[in-house]
Symmetry: C2
Subunit: 222 residues, 2 copies
Amino acid sequence: MQDTPKTEPEANNVRSQILAVATELFAANGYDATSLQAISDRVGVAKPSLLYHFSTKDALRSGVLDQVLSHWNEVLPRLLQAATSGEYRFESLIGESMAFLTQDPDRARLLLREMLDRPQPMRELFAQYLGPWMKILADYIRRGQTEQIIHAGVDPEAYILSIIQLVVGTVALKDVADDLLGGQACDEQQPCGRSLDEVIRLARSALFIHPAAATTSSASPF
Amino acid sequence: MQDTPKTEPEANNVRSQILAVATELFAANGYDATSLQAISDRVGVAKPSLLYHFSTKDALRSGVLDQVLSHWNEVLPRLLQAATSGEYRFESLIGESMAFLTQDPDRARLLLREMLDRPQPMRELFAQYLGPWMKILADYIRRGQTEQIIHAGVDPEAYILSIIQLVVGTVALKDVADDLLGGQACDEQQPCGRSLDEVIRLARSALFIHPAAATTSSASPF
DNA sequence: CCTACCGATCGGTAGG
DNA sequence: CCTACCGATCGGTAGG
């Protein structure tokens, strides 16, 4: 409490505020449609102050991306290891992934936007981040195929990418899609996961030869 | 050949050139990241000439959207009627839809971007454009359910939206996804539809109780 | 369809 | 972390 040093003060929470606001605005309006002015206004600082924390707009972009991806890298290993250890069933993996994304749809929207805006950098990021995990999951699927648990027709890698694609897209565009599901008799009990539920059913039905019943207490290793 | 009237000349092909270039640039870089200057440069006219054909940038946006959606409205009825008349099988519907999109991936990218940038206007557009078709298709699925051809667990509307979502997303982000399918041993024979093929298999497998064999000469009504 | 030009806003810098 | 300011570029207009 004595004095607050001007360099590296405890107020690096300004930095995280900037990241939070930028994530929200980038996700909602896109990178180019979001001005540094709009971000700094919402944080409550002047624009040059923002540029002190992130020297260019592009640095802010990669800061936002880094934060999102590192958050994933923190959660994904736990989910995947649980799924492949047989401790949880299959829907645990896809269900929790969806819960994680639904919890903050901005993550999904941001990812979609970056893939559209900068396909090549995202290719490299994905190859690095989820390349290893993909091999593990694909091998797991192949094992299921030799054990006659999983359809022989499944293309493991393509299946995984399709499901990721479907989950991310469904969460990111939930607002648009839900409107087409005739009115929204949703928010009565739960977060209205009609489209989310069908994604899970779709993923399971297209993978397993004998999809487990929808009961939660199934003893299947998946 | 006598004289070229200055108003309404035969050169409305400038207008279509503008639409074509704008579609490409909007799809590739997004609406906000694309300047009128960049568009008019590529067409080979001055910026005010562009603003003669489309009085504002927003008018250009809706012009581009209109063109894409009307193109769909021209193709979709043929596809859907063929699919529901039993003349073609199920994969005809989804396969041809994908061929139509793959033929010009900009259409898919543009649609994805618009859904992200302006969710509410797109909600209304979709409700208007494919609301009626959705009801027809959903009823068709329900009929298949009572006939025990289609899984009882399918949520018809949610299933349709998921497949649309999956097809559009897969085509729009094909470049990013294909890179993760280990190298690209693709362009040897065909347009390398490993991810596209899996989408079709996924859609079929999650819908039908007895998915038809992969042969093209199946006599199934689907 | 053009040249010339407008105010506004952009990302970023100087200097403290 | 601020005020003040920069050149560049934006969408759009005047006028022909």
